[in-house]
Symmetry: C2
Amino acid sequence: MQDAGRIRDDLTGLLGPSRLADDATSARAWRDTWVISVWRSLGDAPPPRPACVVRPQATSEVSAVLRYASRERIPVVPFGAGSGVCGAILAPPSSIVLDLGAMRSLLGIDEQALLATAQPGLLGSDFEAALNAAGFSMGHFPQSIALSSLGGWVATRSAGQFSTKYGNIEDLFVAFEAVLPSGAVIRTRPVPRAAIGPDLRHLFLGAEGTTGVLTELTFQIHPLPEATGKQAYAFPSMRAGLEALRRTLRAGWRPAVLRLYDAIEAGRSFSGAAKPEESLLLALTEGPAALVEAELAALAASCRIAGGRAIGPEAVASWLVHRNTVPEFEFFLNQGMVVDTIEVATRWNRIDELYEGVLARVRQVPGVIVVSGHSSHSYATGTNIYFTFAARPDRPDDLEALYFRIWDAAMEATLAADGTVSHHHGIGRVRRGWLERELGSAYPLLGTLKNALDPLGIMNPGALLPAPGEPAAANAFPPAEAPRAADPVGPGSDTA
Amino acid sequence: MQDAGRIRDDLTGLLGPSRLADDATSARAWRDTWVISVWRSLGDAPPPRPACVVRPQATSEVSAVLRYASRERIPVVPFGAGSGVCGAILAPPSSIVLDLGAMRSLLGIDEQALLATAQPGLLGSDFEAALNAAGFSMGHFPQSIALSSLGGWVATRSAGQFSTKYGNIEDLFVAFEAVLPSGAVIRTRPVPRAAIGPDLRHLFLGAEGTTGVLTELTFQIHPLPEATGKQAYAFPSMRAGLEALRRTLRAGWRPAVLRLYDAIEAGRSFSGAAKPEESLLLALTEGPAALVEAELAALAASCRIAGGRAIGPEAVASWLVHRNTVPEFEFFLNQGMVVDTIEVATRWNRIDELYEGVLARVRQVPGVIVVSGHSSHSYATGTNIYFTFAARPDRPDDLEALYFRIWDAAMEATLAADGTVSHHHGIGRVRRGWLERELGSAYPLLGTLKNALDPLGIMNPGALLPAPGEPAAANAFPPAEAPRAADPVGPGSDTA
């Protein structure tokens, strides 16, 4: 392990003093928004900090940092905007955090080929606003869009709210420049499609910064749509609503948005839109006017067959306004509660089992106040469920143990329904211990890839895969700090 | 290098004598349908054969062969159906060919989750027929469908004629079982979508058998469509037709088939459908009836704006009947001619340059009789051009040199238009020498991947990447055999 002062001195010599982050940046850029990291950072004994946070302004500077880190065997943690919720960013002591926030330029829009190229630190909402001004949209709207960076989207395999039409990040990510752990810079070219060996984009998509650093990204974009249609439906049950989704996708329709909330979430977020026991489907279709019209009609037919009733577009309009507003984890932690979300997915023939199984198992965990779910990303083969839970331990010291018991319950129930343990938030540290069961016999290939691309093991060690010597389980890493002294206040709340 | 007799004896002992291929199979399973291999196999001194061809009947047998080959350091060449046209299959002397043709079972159809699982040796047309009988289709129709295997589709990154709607093989390939070079068997699970690290499918997609052997494949399927619409258009030029394609895709429409032939190909294959100097667009849309209707109307508008005129559906109907009928390379070789196809792609803003540049450069090569092209796979960002050329050398001995001069011209013109050197036929040996320029600074990653997954280098050496010590250029490998004595007969023909 290197001395932190020497690392700072070396990097100052390498990049100049202006590239060392200021105190405010350093205070936030060592972790993402995993609720456990938030909790620990509120405690009396926050985890040890990295050696330093550097803010490169060019690919050549990223390369210089990685060459240095390779030579000195220093861990490097690429940091986008820190909005991840799985603990993929949790910089080890004496590591270098490579904060890409200063590399945030839009580099160009190709209006003919429908491509836009930008630097990794650009925030999603800034990118989308620039595209909108030119008459385009990326069509990628994660809830975190104002808080997350383009590089982070690729690194975590992000999904957007309009994914049913436009696809997920892997469908939109066309070409890139990246710096390998050695410092070597590689670039690919934007072509429509190719058959030239394994697709190298997938060495970085979902790798969570463990294989290198993306320094330039080219995405497919779309002209702003000609028309938009909105409609909401109420269903007597989640099963009925899921059946409507399945029928719609199966027939070949791809409405941009299909969000099916269970009764708890419908009542919480769209009170009065449906009856108290009903599930609520929000649908939005966009594109050419004739497609929108046909898709709305097809959706109406699928919903009718599945037992739904149309309730007008108002709930969809309301969602569009409020869709990215969520309370911060800290708000609940300060009340002695832990709130988190768990998004998983499975095939249509197992989805009822998954939804009902996760709810049942999580509700059995003592301390759970509420758990609910919605489907937000549908495919011909299946859909996801995005669960939200709130729980309160008897004592603050038990919060982490309670949290991990809930996650264990949800992951077990997901795997029991042959689902995937992560639909789009990624792995980070919270799910790391489940990857071996997720991937089974294929699990060792992740390590093979990691070792091939990062033979020195310097890139974001501990994310996705345990660092050498670490246990995989999330509740074993990072080691819990001293118990937190804060006393929770206020009654339990059900506003997750 | 091992003694061929001993390898045969060892494999007989390992698998039993019934797994050693008969003479007829052995006579065909050492190469694919690369025209240069066909040419050489017609000559007086055909290339040396592999040690043996084995036909495993189960994954465990594939594993046993790979364990043996790893221990003995013997090259293994996975063979599907041999329909590839790039030389990905060209078994080195003393290698083992793993002919997967006996593993051709359909293992199951999941009618709810729209998935079908089969073994790798199953022919595409048999798979599709079985799906049709159950009311489904894969929606994947390479021209080779009756000659190519499911495993080969994934290994070469196949594209089908209906790809604009259903996607290419990477969009349809959901899960797999594979045997790694060590003999280890790995399996992934079919889930709708996941964010669980790098997508392991891409270690085998396009790898051309250089990373392992696929032994089970799960694909997305679709219910048979409710409706189909057909329409053809004539355009004054390829530029005008390409503009119609671009407008259609840009607006968000995805007709299943959009095939735009230049005047040479329109005249050759659809004589009378358009005027002699016109380009011909065949369009087919399928899916829900309302979608088909809206898509036909949108296409009509795009074509009208771009200067096209509707000429009825007859040419589309004719194409549907004859679409997979092509003369064999041998027919032309026996007339002293070499005929081949070259499919490349680029972005919309470079596509005119690519199309015109390849034609111009290839036409400059002395000996070229005709070269023509069509676009058959379009995307929001660009399209492919599928070129066909016919050429005749002054002397049969010059055929290979002429062939490689033509390929050089086409590849140079493609790269000059910032295109990709392969849209969907893959790399094999014919394009191997171009991959370094295709991928540039990213090229070394292909070798990194190969070495990580196949550290002993036994898997299909020479495909995709040169084997150790080999030059990359196709015209340098494999070394040409003794000159061919056959005397070409018959006049030049323009029926490619």
